[in-house]
Symmetry: C2
Subunit: 79 residues, 2 copies
């Protein structure tokens, strides 16, 4: 599902509309550029290290990302 190299989109498919958040290690967001005409969202699973493309136009994916970013930090120094 992932292509290597820098000259194209990393995801060859539309990507998943849902992902298990429990096993989520990290999410990469790649802005659109001259190499790829749309934003790409790639999730890495914690347990397996597997990378999975997420559908950047999925409502669930957008909501999940927004919730992740807007979660309050528990460190007062980060406020």
């Amino acid at each position: 599902q992932l292509t290597s190299g820098q000259r194209r989109c990393s995801c060859t498919e539309k990507g998943s509309n849902f992902i298990q958040q429990k096993d989520l290690g990290k999410i990469e967001v790649i802005p659109k550029s001259s190499s790829c005409d749309h934003v790409e969202i790639i999730a890495t699973m914690k347990s397996t290290g597997e990378q999975r493309c997420l559908n950047p136009n999925s409502k669930w994916v957008k909501k999940m990302m927004t919730a992740l970013i807007n979660k309050r930090s528990s460190q007062s120094t980060h406020r």
Copy 2:
């Protein structure tokens, strides 16, 4: 500014409140976990490959991330 290893937060400092979007290669979002009690946002610069921690509690950073994710894809297959 970045620590290696998996057992702690990756960012040792609060992180930047702003970043040049023009040179932005990708953004990694690491959800909070047993290793780190808050979400971390790490930007990689396109030209230098330099990694920079962003302040997850910065209003500008949150807005930028939300805008990035909600940008319309220009590929109809991604809608």
